[in-house]
Symmetry: C2
Subunit: 406 residues, 2 copies
C-alpha cells in the first residue's frame, strides 16, 4: 500500500473517544457503562426543535446558502442581539458544529507554522484542529490549585513571538468549567490590542453559568471588534449535539469573506439541523432555568461526591458541565482503561476521559481526568460509587503519603 | 486588524457560487433566475427519507459514533454489497457530505506539498480541498473534442513525480458527465499499481448512467484494494443535498484508522441526516428508474437545444447531470455575470457556472460553462431560450468566422 500521510499519523486520537472500543467491549460483556467521558447530555432537546423537524413540509432536502439559510441567520442575530451583541445576519456564518467554526477560524487567521496561545488544559480537539491547520499551540498553563483561573498576563506575554497570531479561550471552559470574570477578559483585551492578535472565543457553554455569575462575551468588548471571533454551537445550549450546527461570528468583514470561501468549498451546513436550530430559537426561558438548575445540582452532587473520596481533588466549576479531577493514580489513562477492561461494581463501571490529552505541555495532567456531569443524578451517584470502589481496589493506586504523618 | 492568512486569501472562490450576489440582485429586481449553476436538483427526495424524519421519536438529538451510527453503516454496507463491493460496516466512515470525505482522503493520504493527478476539467471544489490540504493538483487535460474521455495513459505517466501520491477521478464526471468505461479504469489500475498510488474515486453520481451503459466502481477492481478509496454521498442519489451525508469507503484498514482520527476531531456526522439517509436506503427501484428517465429527457432536451444555438458546442454526457458547453464568447465568466446583471428575456435570466474554475491549467475553459440540468423541462426550455436570446445581443459575442466562408 502507499504510505499514509505523516500528518495523518501525527493526528491525535481524541482522548474523549479513544477508549470507545474498551467501552464497547465492556457493554458486550453485559456491563452498564456510565458515559461521563463525553459532553453528550441526557437533557431533552427542546420540544420546539423536535417539532420543527417533525412537521417538515419540504419536498426536497436542499442545500442552504453556504453561510446558512438567511431565515435562520436572521433568527440567530435576534438571539445574539438580546445578549447585546449588535449583529446582523451578515456577521454570522452557520457552520457544521462549533468544530467546523474553529477549523475555519484557524485556517482563515493563521498560516502553517503560526502560533496560537491557549490556556491549558483546553478542549482536547483543539489539538486536532491545530494539526489540521498545521499551526502550533503554545500553552499557557492554568492550575488546578486556583480552580484554573486565567494565568497571569505575564505568562501570556512571555509566550508571544513574531509567529503568534491568535489567542483561543473557551468560556465557560471545557474541560475546566472555569468562567472568566470581566476583569480577566479585560486583561486579555489589552494583550490582544497591544500585539494585534486575533481573539477566538469558544462560547458554546454561554448559557451554563452558575451561582449567580453571568457570562461576559468578547463580542461585547469595545475596541477589538476587528480581532474578535466567537465560536458558537446549538449542541450544548439545546442539547442537540447531533444537529451539527454551529456558528462563526465576527464583525470583521474581510475575515468573514475568507471564512465564507472555506464554507463554499463544503457547499452548505446541514439543512435539517438548521431547521431544528431555527425551531430551537423559540425555546422558552423556563427550559434554560430548569436545565441550569439541574446542572447545578448535578455539579454539586459530583464535586461533593468526588472530594469525599480519599485522594481526589476537584475544584468546583462555575460554568459548563465538566470538571477536572486529580486522582490518586500515576497514569489516569491507564486507570480509565482499567475501569472499562478490568473493573466492575455490581456489573457497572464508568467511562471518563484522561486529561493529559487536554494539555499541550507534555507530562501535565497525567493524574487528572475530565468528568462530564451530563447524566441524571441517579446515574451520577452510581458512577461516583463506582469510582470510589474502583480506587479501593485499583492495583496502581498511589498511597497518599501525607496521611501517614497526620 | 491582524493579517488574514495567506492561504485563506489564496483559497479559491467557488465558481459555482461566486456569482450568487449577482443572482440575488437580479431576483431583487423581480427577475426569474434559472439556477443551472449548481447541482441542486428539483427532483423530490424519496418519501421514505422524509418520513423517517417526520416520525422521529428521539427525545435527544445526540451525537452519533464518529464513523456514523452502526445501524446506518450496516444498512449502507448492504446497499454496497448489492453492487458487489463486498464490504462491512467497518469499511465505511460516514462523513458530512462527500466534501468532508474528500478532505479526509487528501489529509490522510498526502502531506503538504504532495501532488495529486486529476483529469481536468474537474469538480471545482477539488481546488478548495487541495488548498485546505496544501497539496498540488497536477492536471491531465481531457478535451471537449472527444467528449472528455480519459486522457491517454502516457499523459498520466508524464506527470508522475516522486511527490505524486494519488489520482482522483470523478465517475460519472462532474462537470463533464463523462462515464468511464471498464477499459479506461483498467488503464488507471495499471498506473496505480505500477507507481503504488492512491486512487480516490468520487462516485456520487453512480446511479446516473444513461443509454444502457453501466457504472464500474473502483471497489470492484481486484489487486488495488489497499490503494482505493471511494467517495460517496446521499446528496445526488436521493436528491437530498442538504442532508450533508457522505461516506469515505476503503478496505485499507490503516488508512481508515487515520481518517477516523480526523472524524473524531469533529465528533460526529449529522444525526438527522443519517436518519434520513437510513430511511432512504428503502427507496424503491422505481424511484431511480423514474429519475434516470427524467434526467435522460432533460439531458437530450438541453444538449439538442444548446447545439442548435449557433456557436455553441456541447458534447452529450453519458452520466451525472452536468454538461460542459463551449460558448461563442471570449470570457465565459464575464458573460455569466452579464446574464445576471444586464440581461433579461421576458423578465427571466439564467445562472450558469463559468468553467475556468474547473480547470487547474491557467487559460483553459475560458470559453466554457458548466450547465446542470437539474430543473424541470419547462424551466430548462426557458433557460435555453434565454441563452439563445442572450447570445444574440451579447456585446462581446465572438463572430464565428468560419461561418462567413461556408
Amino acid at each position: 500500500m502507499p504510505d499514509l500521510s505523516n500528518r495523518g499519523q501525527k493526528m491525535p486520537e481524541s482522548p474523549i473517544r479513544k477508549l470507545v472500543p474498551y467501552a464497547e467491549a465492556a457493554k458486550k460483556k453485559g456491563r452498564i457503562v456510565y458515559h461521563l467521558n463525553i459532553g453528550q447530555p441526557d437533557i431533552e432537546t427542546p420540544q420546539v426543535a423536535l417539532d420543527a423537524i417533525r412537521i417538515i413540509d419540504r419536498k426536497v432536502i436542499e442545500y442552504s446558502h453556504s453561510a446558512g439559510g438567511i431565515g435562520y441567520r436572521t433568527g440567530l442575530a435576534d438571539y445574539y442581539n438580546q445578549l447585546g451583541f449588535n449583529l446582523t445576519a451578515e456577521d454570522i456564518l452557520v457552520t457544521t458544529g462549533g468544530s467546523e467554526a474553529l477549523i475555519f477560524a484557524f485556517q482563515s487567521c493563521m498560516n502553517a507554522g503560526d502560533e496560537v496561545i491557549i490556556p491549558e488544559p483546553f478542549y482536547a480537539n483543539y489539538n486536532g484542529f491545530s494539526q489540521i491547520a498545521d499551526v502550533n499551540i503554545i500553552p499557557v498553563t492554568s492550575s488546578i490549585d486556583n480552580g484554573f483561573a486565567l494565568p497571569p498576563i505575564s505568562d501570556f506575554e512571555k509566550k508571544i513571538t513574531p509567529k503568534t497570531k491568535a489567542i483561543v479561550i473557551c468560556n465557560p471552559g471545557n474541560p475546566t468549567g472555569y468562567l472568566y470574570s470581566k476583569e480577566e477578559l479585560e486583561t486579555l483585551k489589552e494583550i490582544v490590542k497591544k500585539h494585534d492578535l486575533y481573539l477566538i472565543a469558544d462560547e458554546v457553554y454561554r448559557e451554563f453559568c452558575y451561582d449567580g455569575k453571568t457570562h461576559h462575551s468578547v463580542l461585547n468588548m469595545k475596541g477589538i471588534e476587528q480581532n474578535t471571533i466567537v465560536i458558537d454551537s446549538v449542541s450544548k445550549r439545546y442539547s442537540m449535539c447531533g444537529a451539527r450546527i454551529g456558528a462563526f461570528i465576527t464583525k470583521n468583514k474581510e475575515l468573514l469573506a475568507v471564512a465564507l470561501k472555506y464554507a463554499q468549498a463544503r457547499l452548505s451546513p446541514p439543512t435539517l439541523g438548521q431547521i431544528a436550530g431555527e425551531g430551537a430559537l423559540s425555546t422558552p426561558q423556563s427550559y434554560f432555568d430548569d436545565v441550569v438548575k439541574e446542572y447545578v445540582s448535578r455539579r454539586d452532587l459530583l464535586i461533593d461526591g468526588l472530594n469525599n473520596i480519599e485522594g481526589i481533588k476537584c475544584p468546583k466549576p462555575g460554568g459548563a458541565f465538566y470538571a477536572i479531577a486529580e486522582l490518586p493514580v500515576k497514569d489516569a489513562e491507564k486507570f480509565c482503561q482499567w475501569l472499562l477492561e478490568d473493573f466492575e461494581y455490581k456489573n457497572q463501571t464508568v467511562m471518563i476521559a484522561p486529561a493529559a490529552g487536554f494539555y499541550a505541555t507534555k507530562g501535565l495532567g497525567k493524574k487528572e481526568v475530565r468528568i462530564a456531569y451530563v447524566l441524571n443524578k441517579k446515574s451520577l451517584l452510581n458512577a461516583i460509587k463506582c469510582l470510589s470502589e474502583a480506587l479501593k481496589v485499583y492495583p496502581e493506586r498511589i498511597v497518599v503519603k501525607e496521611k501517614q504523618f497526620s
